[in-house]
Amino acid sequence: MRVVLLVIFVALVARLVAVQQFSHTHYATLSRSELSQIVTVPALRGGIYDRNGAVLALSVAKKTVVADPFLIKKPLLTADALSPVLGVPVAQLVPELSEHSGFVYLAHRIDSATAAKVTALGLTGIDLIDESQRVQPDGQTAAPVVGAVQADGQGGSGLEYQYQSLLAGTAGTKDLLTAPDGVALPGASSTGKTAKAGTGLELTLDESIQYVAEQALGAEIVASQATGGTAVVMDVKTGDILAMANLQATPAPAPASGSAAAQTVAATTASATTGAASVGGSASTLPAGVSEAPSNAALNQVYEPGSVFKLVTFSAALANGVISPNQNFTVPDALPLGTYTFHDAESHGTENLSATDIIAQSSNIGTIEIAQQLGENRLLNQISNLGFGKPTGLHFPGESQGLVPGASQWTGSSIGSTPIGQADAVTVQQVLDAYNAVANGGVFVAPRLVRATVAPNGSAHAQPPSPAHRVIDPTSNAALVKMLQSVVSTGTGVAAAIDGYTVAGKTGTAQIPDPTHGGYLPGAFVGSFAGFAPAENPVLSCIVVLNHPTPIYGGSVAAPVFSTIVQYALQHYGIPTTAAATAGTSVGAVGGAGSIVVQPGVTTEGP
């Protein structure tokens, strides 16, 4: 008997030693796995701000109410308690709480006050999970540029997509020990990895100028019955893009008896730029019949620019000594080249026009004659110098670098179509970059959209300045500026004039190619104006483009929009009028040498 007891005792001790000494890790892990739950701690996405610190997009932490119906013994009582807090009818909650499921969504993205009330109820089987919501406080302003966030929190378009890795941050993990009823044991959690909030972006955009640009462009789209339009404003010296507006005409909703599909077109179009998870903080205030375009047409879409492209021809001709501003040319009404006959916009007899008159009146024939003297190679060289056919350096998602036929693709009529902007496909931004180079004394400066990154602690780290290089010699450039001034003072761009300031620029009225049959669509035009001000010391450059406007002329539809936008921007930055600048007195001039100097976080004057 004693031996039996001894054997049993030894066996028990041996088993204890085996469990506690050799297998304790296994059993401890097994025990922990029964109770522990690895939870992902989402990182708060970085915000996007304008150059003055105004919020364009910001993520706000929200809570989503979820239920575990397996733990809910009395769904009706739980629904009665939750209904007034969530604002959801009891009749809707009871079936959800009675589902044969361990996880049911009850309310998405509730605010912190409501979440606190839910927590205070202390209901078994009801829990809150963290989610974030992307909010755009100023509605859809600059939506095609800022982009949208998808339902999974990832950037889906625009800058949200381009800077996804920077904005997203890094999610963390937390190991929670929970009781069998799902309640987290207090103090028993450990942080596996700390969540790192995303880095924000400070853009070069100025919210006020962006707003004015969208309002002015939208009003003109409606007035001219255009299908859409684009307007971009740049800081001449730094290349900062102060505004980039992309709008489209929105068809009017169908009558109530019509199909619901037509009524959802506008809403779908408007919300397409936001995605499922982005919410506008305030309603859009664009004119009725206009909405934000689904993409950033200023960078993503190409078009034949028309007469605004004559800047390239004239800058090359002046730089190569082919012409002088007052040199006279005999300009007929028509000019046959290859298989095409080129005409001026308005019929006229043979005229004697100076080079300045040719550009002021936008004579196609005169421009072609100058291009013929310039030659194909020097023209193509200047096209490349001014950035056409190349990426802008913005690396914007979907950005096009345009289509510029090389010398090997030239035909007999190319010397006629290329100089007047009816052969190359370019983006709106590329055209503005060329005008900005002229405004900047012949120095090409690359455009910029992001000014600085903003760390989670709020500190801003400035991005390097845009690279610059000379493309036109100063003397030729000065002559060209004078010629462009005549466009506004006496030529086709008089509607671009701004009281108190001298403006230089060029109108454009370009035919739209027919992608199906070749040639051009009958009666379809793009009206545009590109220019800068003040001409004697340029600070701002701007381009306005309208698609399918009525009337078709850039001088009639785009130039007035340019005037409105640039006038506001000049006054917004306190740029002295030409008279004040000439007299040597000024009020409100910001920065030296006519440059815009806005410190981050400083709010400039509003509209």
Partner: protein, 170 residues
């Protein structure tokens, strides 16, 4: 007849007693017996009380230590609960701050400003903005041109007489 106890005792004594004539045993080889004494009843109970006290104290110490561990664990758990609560409050307040930041941004947005200015305050966009020339503080102001004050009209005698009689009557 009973065994003779005296004979047994004598045998025992014979066994015990050393042989006559033989030398006495060596006292250095035999261990010394500790001095023993028989305790009385009072002393025995005193010792037993001491032992009981010792056991009691030991038990109290062990139980007290265990209780202390339990209390300390409870205090730690409560502090952890308070810490968790504080952390939740920090998170809630941070989220509230963000929500307020969004609300401020909404109010500061240009469309909100324009809506308030035009809709509520009746403001209109300026038709024309005139630059005022900046004048340096060191620039002396021009002396204003002033016209001399005309001399007051001299009253006539006839007009003056009634007033003097009036004056004397008062």
């Amino acid at each position: 007849m009973a065994p003779d106890s005296s004979s047994a005792a004598a045998r025992g004594a014979a066994l015990i007693e050393p042989r006559r004539g033989s030398a006495a045993p060596d006292s250095r080889s035999a261990p010394r017996r500790p001095p023993l004494r028989i305790l009385g009843p009072a002393t025995r109970s005193k010792v037993r009380r001491g032992n009981r006290m010792l056991v009691l104290l030991s038990a109290l110490l062990v139980i007290g230590s265990l209780m202390a561990v339990v209390v300390a664990d409870d205090v730690v758990a409560q502090d952890q609960v308070r810490l968790s609560t504080a952390q939740r409050q920090v998170t809630t307040l941070t989220n509230t701050h963000r929500e307020l930041q969004v609300q401020v941004s909404v109010q500061q947005a240009p469309q909100a400003v324009v809506k308030t200015a035009e809709g509520q305050l009746g403001m209109v966009p300026a038709g024309q903005i005139t630059d005022l020339p900046e004048v340096s503080l060191s620039t002396p102001l021009p002396v204003p041109q002033t016209a001399p004050i005309p001399a007051p009209a001299t009253p006539t005698t006839a007009a003056a007489a009634p007033s003097s009689s009036n004056a004397s009557s008062t």
